[in-house]
């Protein structure tokens, strides 16, 4: 009996601070991002924070909040990308930024600190969170930013509903910079990147005292060892030659690689598909921003999808993670099938980060992270009319809407001066 009470309590906590009343969304165009595809005129039943049923002609549970969709689209909550949401308040104010670790050591004394985990710095009450979530971005991946090491550290996927314990179990990943982005951290040559990794891998298997030129401390050894046993490692890497090398290297050492950036991934799309390696990309990138990205092109997403590579989108801007949705729309405008664009914002990133059983689709049993849209969810003129996370309605307010309301009144009165 006691055990059962405890279970109930845990479930209640897990459904979030707002608690979760039953919810019935009636008459929606439901984009499930799952095997059912899009359901033209369907209902969604939410109980205890989870989707209980989805389909046409369902009955509202007694006491449920009923929302009339009137044919508007509903999608799973969108993915915000690899971000520093909740890790930084104002990018250029260093003291408000917790996403990178730097001891300012000279290059020859750089140590790798894979044990650095930015999840611990996540601020669930950040001003930035409501700005993102009222636009339909319900979760994001916290990504540390490398400074003086190839290995940036770890991060987790988090819900953006404002709960303190926001990290999703099983989503923790290691982040590594590769190629020219890590040039300085690898002694000036990307050839040293595998060399240093070889050293770190060897050290991770040692148990003795830390030597004078060591890369890892004992804590770091343990963490790296864990990732060498099938852990997910996100490599920021752009150049086709480097992508191939990273995939082979990671796999041969027991890591499960994810490619982030991947401007030239389309060139090695077939190999990525065969190796079952996903790519998280910026679908707006079409310029040779550097010599690792000479092959950038707008249909990267389309080409990867056609080759059978699982893709998701990311946008390098924590304050504007809502723009990730625009990336998906642009990918579709450049040849990616619409359903694949939706999946790249929902089911695919959830699967990539190990939370696909609970998130990313509108299917019975999934967490009720839902967005009711004013129109096509990938269209820039559409707006999230209502967002639910774990079945609870998100208050559709942010610091920005407060400022807006204050000054819209003034300009309507002709007194904005």
């Amino acid at each position: 009996m006691k055990a059962r009470c405890l279970m109930v309590l845990l479930v209640a906590l897990a459904t979030g601070p707002a608690g979760a009343q039953s919810l019935f969304i009636h008459g929606a165009r439901v984009h499930t991002a799952g095997s059912a595809g899009t359901l033209g005129n369907a209902d969604i039943v939410v109980e205890d924070g989870r989707i209980a049923a989805v389909g046409p002609g369902l009955a509202a549970p007694p006491g449920a909040t009923v929302v009339e969709a009137n044919g508007r689209p509903v999608t799973p909550g969108f993915f915000g990308g690899l971000t520093q949401v909740g890790l930084e308040e104002v990018s250029q104010e260093e003291d408000t930024v917790d996403s990178e670790l730097s001891f300012k050591a000279p290059a020859w004394q750089h140590m790798w600190r894979p044990e650095f985990d930015v999840t611990n710095a996540f601020n669930a009450r950040s001003i930035v969170l409501p700005v993102a979530r009222i636009e339909g971005i319900t979760w994001a991946m916290l990504a540390p930013e490398p400074d003086d090491s190839l290995v940036a550290g770890q991060g987790s996927a988090v819900t953006l509903d404002g709960r303190f314990d926001a990290a999703f179990d099983g989503s923790r990943s290691l982040f590594v910079n590769w190629g020219s982005a890590a040039h300085g951290a690898s002694g000036g040559s990307r050839a040293a990147q595998t060399m240093l990794f070889d050293q770190a891998i060897r050290e991770s298997k040692e148990t003795g005292a830390v030597g004078p030129a060591a890369l890892l401390l004992p804590e770091g050894r343990a963490v790296l060892r864990r990732y060498l046993g099938g852990g997910r490692v996100v490599f920021f890497v752009e150049r086709a030659a480097d992508i191939r090398q990273v995939v082979r290297y990671a796999k041969s050492h027991g890591m499960k690689p994810v490619i982030a950036g991947g401007a030239e991934a389309w060139i090695v799309a077939r190999e990525l598909a065969e190796a079952d390696v996903p790519v998280i990309l910026n679908a707006l990138e079409d310029l040779p921003q550097d010599f690792d990205r000479l092959g950038s092109r707008l249909d990267n997403a389309k080409l990867l999808h056609e080759a059978g590579v699982r893709i998701a989108f990311t946008w390098d801007e924590s304050h504007n993670v809502r723009k990730n949705r625009q990336l998906a729309g642009n990918a579709v405008a450049n040849g990616l099938p619409w359903e694949a664009g939706l999946a790249a914002m929902t089911a695919s990133p959830a699967a990539i980060f190990g939370i696909g059983a609970d998130h990313g689709r509108i299917e019975a049993g999934q967490s009720a992270d839902l967005v009711l849209w004013s129109g096509d969810p990938l269209e820039v003129t559409s707006i999230a009319d209502q967002v639910w996370i774990a079945g609870a309605p998100v208050p559709m307010r942010s610091r920005q809407t407060a400022l807006r309301d204050k000054y819209v009144e003034r300009v309507k009165a002709g007194t904005a001066r």
Binding site: S91, V332, Y407, V411
Partner: protein
Amino acid sequence: MRPLLAAFGTVVITACAAQPPAPSPAATQASPEPAGRAPFSSTYEAPAGPATLIRNATVLTGTGERIEGGDVLLENGVVKALGRALESPAGAVVIDATGRWVTPGLIDVHSHLGVYASPGVNATSDGNEATDPVTANVWAEHSVWPQDPGFETALRGGITSMQVLPGSANLIGGRGVTLKNVPATTYQAMKFPGAPQGLKMACGENPKRVYGDDDKFPSTRMGNVAGYRQAFADAKDYIEEWKEYDAELAKYEKDKEKGDDDATPPKPPKRDLGLETLAEVLRGHILVHNHCYRADEMATMLDIAKEFGYKVTAFHHAVEAYKLADRLAEEGVCAAMWADWWGFKMEAYDGVQENIAIVDHPEKGCAIVHSDSEEGIQRLNQEAAKAIARGRRVGFEIAPEHAIRWLTANPAKALGILDRTGTLEPGKMADVVVWNGTPFSVYAHADQVFIDGVLRFDRSKPAPPRSDFLQ
């Protein structure tokens, strides 16, 4: 966090092409123009081509009108006629635009293409002369690399003209240049004929950070203001010096005419390239484009303009323009804005997605959508689309025929080229985009882009990159 906008580089420069490049008082008064082409002036000439008749489109003219089932005739580089069922001149290329939309070419009032080119390597970092807080002497055009691949991706987004500015490291960053988005070997061959130059000024955090971090002046906002004021005070003195010289010279010439053989010619003051620029601003020949985020700082800048007698043409970035939208409209100052960037620094902390729609609301409001980004410049239409949607949510119904002005007529006005381009009116440059549907959509594509009547981009005929860098 990592995307750093050419961040602290926002600068405006416009270069005069038709007029001589504002040679200081010295040149205008003392030395006659050399025969032929003025140094740094435009060499752009549109090649001759056939007339083009675009048929049966939804035409947004940029004047606020919308013509359904409209035809647009381009001939000899200009818009010849608009209307319904126009007659096709002999030999004209006819484009059936049924179901498609036609707008004026888009104009970005704030770009760093060419001065912060791709690839973004050290060698192409030419946008900020961050060695002194006042560098009114530099001209962005002298940094423009015409092979920047960003020009052609911008063309794909319907951009036909743009102002390329110095960055915003400095209080006064230098002169900006307005370019036609045409492939060329030299920047002079891209230069918009007759467009006035701009002056890039920057408020707030960037200048005080760039210099303050090295314990140099300015390190505070009050230091910034002292810096702008001293620069313009010096420019006033400079103008006076030249006036005195002109008077002495006139007297000398008169004396000589009278046969006074003892008359000695006056010695001209030393030319100062920076003060020449500011003197041209005070004369109204160079337009002020002022990077400024915060509303209170915009008000300070308007007071400085009043003190010295120049006009602020546009505030750029203007994240807080919504807080003084009525004042900006009353004073005839444009605000160039993003749809949703915010929070990357304190002065961008109060960003709202309704900024553009709010600034647009007062009767004389002059809202401009700008990019400051090689990505954003490809999608000004999408940025405007977002602003329309946000405006609608707060009760501002904004028709497409009105919103297109944020990307065409209003930036043209701010660049001093509205009499030549920015709207589809007979006699104006034939800078025209044919879109696959409404431009205000994430799915919009520019199908064809004409500059001075010449087809410069055709989506149905994919071409290899033209930049030498991508060969």
